[in-house]
């Protein structure tokens, strides 16, 4: 049930059929895990907070550097040298203090991903290397977590929404609405070492995990779709921002698309028309956007 403040705050998106009051309540009970807080993660998480996603976990072990300011829009010179997760958490807290933001200043890796995404309603892959993207993909498939991927380099941006087998859980058995409560929460953890075992620690994410039902993606999946590993297997992807450069707004386009897809899913988890398994290829030079189906690769060791 939305109160007067909620209605005022979210008035613009409440007018949309894709959100409306029911969707807004769903956003409040959702938990988005954002991995990578660079050009993609800063902007995507800003939109998630602004839209009222009730629980957000921010994950990155990096610090803010001056070369980040060209495209990582939430940071400014006062953040130089600060941990990104902490700096972003502080900034987003100013947007809406009622959002539960958990910051984790660590690098996601195989060993900690299951723990990090355990309570997620969905995961946003905002990282910048194929190696960690493959680990996130594998973890999301193992945990059946919907995964929203975006990437950018040079003047190109690409994205895909992957159900990660979650649609197999139940296309028809709709999960009851989760009952996550809203309360002020603003926590952070700091760990510079990659692969920290958090199994002995408790945090707000665990609290959310106890209260939220796992998502059953019943949005339309027209054809079986593959996974990130199906896409990159046997390819040596070298196009990243460090080697190829990137124009700030281009990575911003990717982040906006990614946040839009995640919000549409989180608002109407069981009825949203999400384009699962469509690989979007955008080019800023000729203003073209194409999409291709990503079928399962018959020899994929991750999803087959």
């Amino acid at each position: 049930m939305l109160n007067k403040d909620d209605i005022r705050r979210y008035s613009r998106q409440l007018l949309l059929n894709e959100i409306d009051e029911e969707g807004q309540s769903n956003l409040r009970s959702a938990h988005a895990v954002v991995i990578g807080l660079g050009g993609l993660g800063t902007l995507a998480s800003r939109f998630l907070v602004g839209a009222g996603v009730g629980n957000i976990t921010l994950i990155d072990g990096d610090i803010v550097e001056v070369s980040n300011l060209q495209r990582q829009v939430t940071y400014n010179e006062t953040h130089l040298g600060d941990l990104k997760a902490k700096a972003l958490s502080n900034e987003l807290h100013k947007v809406d203090p009622s959002i539960h933001i958990t910051s984790k200043s660590l690098f996601a890796c195989k060993r900690n991903l299951q723990k990090l995404i355990g309570s997620a309603t969905c995961v946003l892959d905002c990282t910048d290397s194929v190696a960690i993207r493959k680990d996130i993909n594998a973890a999301c498939i193992a945990a059946k977590k919907p995964l929203f991927i975006a990437a950018a380099s040079g003047l190109s941006w690409q994205a895909i929404n992957l159900p990660c087998h979650s649609f197999l859980a139940s296309a028809h058995q709709l999960a009851p609405s989760s009952h996550c409560t809203s309360e002020n929460h603003h926590s952070s953890e700091t760990d510079y070492s990659s692969g920290t075992d958090y199994s002995s620690q408790t945090d707000h994410a665990d609290h959310v995990n106890q209260q939220c039902q796992p998502p059953n993606v019943s949005s339309k999946v027209d054809a079986p779709c593959g996974c990130y590993d199906c896409l990159v297997a046997q390819l040596n992807v070298t196009q990243d921002c460090r080697s190829q450069g990137v124009l700030g707004p281009v990575v911003g386009i990717a982040a906006c698309h990614q946040a839009t897809q995640a919000l549409l899913f989180l608002a109407k988890r069981h009825t949203a028309t999400i384009q699962w398994g469509r690989y979007i290829v955008g080019n800023a030079i000729d203003a073209s956007v194409q999409s291709f189906h990503l079928p399962p690769s018959p020899d994929c060791k991750v999803c087959q």
């Binding site: 690409q158 896409l231 196009q239 690989y279 189906h293």
Partner: protein, 109 residues
């Protein structure tokens, strides 16, 4: 780009070496090679990144990729709007009317 698939600047179609037949006579709507023509070097018309081109057939996607992509490492290929895993490239042979999109995967963020 080598001569396996070349574009005629005037007509935006490719006429490869050794074109002996009219495509329309050699291929049905599905583009399958007529059984009595199998093994012969014939010509097909395909759409590569939105441009019509004619190629010698038989030609695999792997062969086409090598003729197009100067930087193969991160190259992905969509075959009739569906991404094809690299292991399938040598096994998939192009047919008349096929749509091929070649693009480079990016991973930055």
């Amino acid at each position: 780009m080598n001569s396996m698939c070349n574009k005629d600047n005037q007509t935006n179609t490719i006429v490869t070496h050794d074109v002996k037949r009219d495509n329309k006579n050699d291929y049905g709507r599905t583009g399958e090679i007529n059984s009595d023509k199998k093994g012969e070097n014939t010509t097909i018309t395909i759409i590569v990144n939105g441009e019509g081109k004619t190629c010698s057939s038989p030609i695999s996607i792997d062969e086409l990729a090598h003729s197009y992509a100067t930087h193969m490492e991160g190259t992905a290929i969509a075959y009739n709007r569906s991404i094809l895993s690299k292991s399938q490239w040598p096994l998939t042979h192009l047919q008349d009317g096929d749509h091929i999109d070649i693009f480079t995967l990016v991973a930055g963020g």
